[in-house]
C-alpha cells in the first residue's frame, strides 16, 4: 500500500527575474507505515515539497496522491485528519495569543473529538511537557518547549501521515532522543507514515528506511538508509554529506 505518491512535482514562486523553481521534477513514493527522509542543502526545496502537499505552495504541477486519492484544492477538512505537518520554525507556527491549552483544545474540538480535557492531558504527557505547561503562552516557552507543543498539536487529530520538517533541529539532544523515541513508538502503535526533513544524517539514519537527497530543487538520489550506511551513495553531494557526518 502506498501512502504518499509524488510524481513529476514542480513547485515555483514568483515571476520573471524573481521566479524561483524551488522543486523540479520530484518523484518518490512512501509506503504505508514507512518513514521516508528528505535531506539536502539549505534552500534546496525540502520544506517546499512538504508545503506543496499541504497546499501551502500555490503554484505547482504534477501529481500528489495521499492514501490512493489525488489531492484537490482547497484541501477538505478530512485531508487534515489524515495529514498533519510539524513546521520547521517553532516560533512562527504557534499563535502568540493562544495558550497551550487553547491550541490543543481547539484542534481536538475542530476534529470532533470528545473528552477534550483528558486528551489534552495525555498529549502533553506524550510529548514530555506535563501539566505545568498547559496554561502557558508561546512567549513563556523555550524553543524546544514550543516545538513539543507543535508536535502535540500535529498528533491531536490522530493522523495517518505526518510531515515533519526538521522536527528536532530546535531541540537539545535529550529532548531530541525523547521525541524520536516517541515518534518511533507512535509509528509502531498507530501504523503511521512519516515524511521527515532533516539536515542531520544521524537523525534520518535513526528514523527512516529510505531517503532522498536534494540539491538545488532536484532529488539527486534516492536510496535506502542501509545502502547509505554501507557508503553506497553515488551522487557527489550525497557522498559529501556522508563524509561530513561520520
Amino acid at each position: 500500500m502506498t501512502m504518499l505518491d509524488v510524481k513529476s512535482l514542480n513547485v515555483w514562486f514568483g515571476t520573471g527575474r524573481d521566479r524561483v523553481d524551488a522543486v523540479k521534477g520530484a518523484n518518490f513514493t512512501v509506503g504505508q507505515g514507512e518513514s521516508f527522509g528528505l535531506v539536502g542543502e539549505s534552500g534546496s526545496g525540502k520544506s517546499t515539497i512538504l508545503r506543496a502537499i499541504t497546499s501551502l505552495a500555490p503554484n505547482w504541477s504534477g501529481i500528489i496522491q495521499v492514501d490512493g486519492t489525488p489531492v484537490v484544492s482547497p484541501r477538505p477538512k478530512a485531508f487534515f485528519k489524515t495529514v498533519q505537518m510539524v513546521f520547521q520554525d517553532p516560533y512562527a507556527s504557534l499563535h502568540p495569543r493562544h495558550s497551550v491549552d487553547q491550541v490543543l483544545g481547539e484542534t481536538l474540538h475542530l476534529h470532533g473529538f470528545r473528552e477534550i480535557d483528558a486528551r489534552v492531558v495525555k498529549l502533553l504527557d506524550d510529548v514530555g511537557l506535563g501539566q505545568k505547561f498547559r496554561f502557558r503562552y508561546p512567549h513563556q516557552l523555550s524553543g524546544g518547549q514550543r516545538q513539543r507543543v507543535a508536535i502535540a498539536r500535529a498528533l491531536a487529530p490522530e493522523p495517518k501521515l505526518l510531515l515533519l520538517d526538521e522536527p528536532t533541529s530546535a531541540l537539545d539532544v535529550s529532548v531530541q532522543a525523547e521525541i524520536l523515541n516517541l515518534l518511533a513508538d507512535l509509528r509502531q502503535e498507530h501504523n503511521l507514515t512519516y515524511l521527515m526533513v532533516s539536515h542531520d544524517l544521524s537523525v534520518v539514519g535513526h528514523m527512516c528506511d529510505q531517503l532522498a537527497v536534494m540539491k538545488d530543487g532536484e532529488i539527486v538520489e534516492i536510496m535506502s538508509v542501509a545502502a547509505l550506511r554501507k557508503m553506497e551513495a553515488t551522487h557527489p553531494y550525497s557522498q559529501h554529506l556522508l563524509h561530513a557526518s561520520v
Partner: protein, 286 residues
C-alpha cells in the same frame, strides 16, 4: 590570564508566574575573552536567557539581577536604556534563536541589510548595495540579487539564519552572541558559517558566545564550554575534552545522540537527578 571582554558575576533571570517566581537563570558567573565559548544544555536550561540578559533584552515582567555584568570593565547594569542601545549592535551583537522573527516582515531583505550597513558606515547607497551582496555571498546564499529583493517569508529556514548572521557581522562587534546560529543548516553550509565566525575570532579578536545543543559541533568548534542545567552551570570544560566530561548530566546528553555509524533501536534518554539542580553553580571564570 586571558584579557577579559566580558565578566559576569552572579547573574539571575526571574519571571513572576502564577505559581510564583520562576528562576530561569540562577546565579551564573563566567568570563569571556577573545575566544569561542560554547553554552550547551537541555531545552529550557536558561541558555537563551543568559545571552539575552547580557544585553538586557529580557522582556518585562522578567527581571535581570547580577552583582555585575562588565563589558571591558564597565558595568552594563549601570547604563541607561539609551546607552544600552548603543552597546547593542555596536559592541555586542546577538543572533537570535528565532531568525525570521528578528527580521522585519514587510521590508525586503536588501533594504534591511543596506539600512543596517549605512547605520554603521558613511557608505553611499550603491556601495552599501555592493557590500550587502558580498555579505550574502559570504554566507553561501545562491542568487543573492534575488534574495535582496525578497521578503523574509520567502526564505527557507537556513537562509533566514544565514541572513541574520550576515547582518550581525556588519557593525564589526567586539562580542557576538550567537543563539543556535546553525541549527537549520546542512553540514556544508554550516561549515562555511563557522569559518566566518572563526575568522572574526582569530583575525579581529572578537569574543564569541556560541549557544548550541549540538554537542559534537561545540566540541569541535569552541575553545571552552559551559554546560547548563536548570539555570545553573553544572560543569565547565575544554571543548576538545567535552567527550570526557564527568557530570552525569553531560554524559547523559552525550549518550542520547543518535550515531550514524552505530545505529540502535532506541535512543537513551536522560534520567534526571534532583541533586543536579540543588548543587551550586560552577564558576565559568578563567
Amino acid at each position: 590570564m586571558m584579557e577579559q571582554l566580558l565578566d559576569i558575576e552572579n547573574l539571575w533571570v526571574k519571571f513572576p508566574t502564577r505559581q510564583g517566581i520562576f528562576d530561569a537563570v540562577r546565579g551564573v558567573s563566567f568570563t569571556l575573552g577573545r575566544e569561542r565559548l560554547g553554552i550547551v544544555g537541555e531545552s529550557g536550561s536558561g541558555k537563551s536567557m543568559t545571552g539575552r540578559a547580557i544585553l538586557r533584552l529580557i522582556r518585562p515582567p522578567g527581571i535581570v539581577e547580577a552583582d555585575y555584568i562588565k563589558l571591558e570593565g564597565t558595568n552594563l547594569l549601570d547604563k541607561t536604556e539609551k546607552e544600552m542601545r548603543a552597546v547593542r549592535g555596536q559592541q555586542i551583537s546577538m543572533v537570535m534563536q528565532d531568525p525570521k522573527f528578528s527580521l522585519n516582515p514587510v521590508m525586503t531583505i536588501g533594504n534591511q541589510i543596506i539600512e543596517a550597513y549605512r547605520l554603521h558606515s558613511k557608505a553611499s547607497k550603491s556601495e552599501a548595495y555592493a557590500k550587502s551582496l558580498e555579505m550574502l555571498e559570504a554566507v553561501s546564499i545562491r542568487n543573492p540579487k534575488r534574495v535582496m529583493r525578497a521578503y523574509p517569508h520567502e526564505m527557507s529556514g537556513g537562509m533566514g539564519q544565514r541572513i541574520m548572521i550576515a547582518m550581525m557581522l556588519i557593525p564589526n562587534p567586539k562580542i557576538l552572541i550567537a543563539d543556535e546560529p546553525t541549527s537549520a543548516l546542512d553540514v556544508s553550509v554550516q561549515r562555511q558559517v563557522l569559518d566566518i565566525m572563526d575568522r572574526l575570532v582569530n583575525e579581529r579578536g572578537m569574543g564569541l558566545i556560541f549557544i548550541s545543543h549540538d554537542l559534537n559541533l561545540v566540541a569541535d568548534f569552541c575553545d571552552r564550554v559551559l554546560i547548563m542545567y536548570a539555570g545553573r552551570i553544572v560543569e565547565v570544560c575544554q571543548a576538545d575534552r567535552l567527550h570526557e566530561a564527568q557530570h552525569p548530566y553531560t554524559r547523559g546528553l552525550l549518550n542520547s545522540l543518535p550515531r550514524f555509524d552505530a545505529p540502535k533501536p532506541r535512543l537513551e534518554v536522560l534520567q534526571r537527578d534532583p541533586a543536579w539542580s540543588e548543587a551550586p553553580s560552577v564558576s565559568g571564570r578563567t
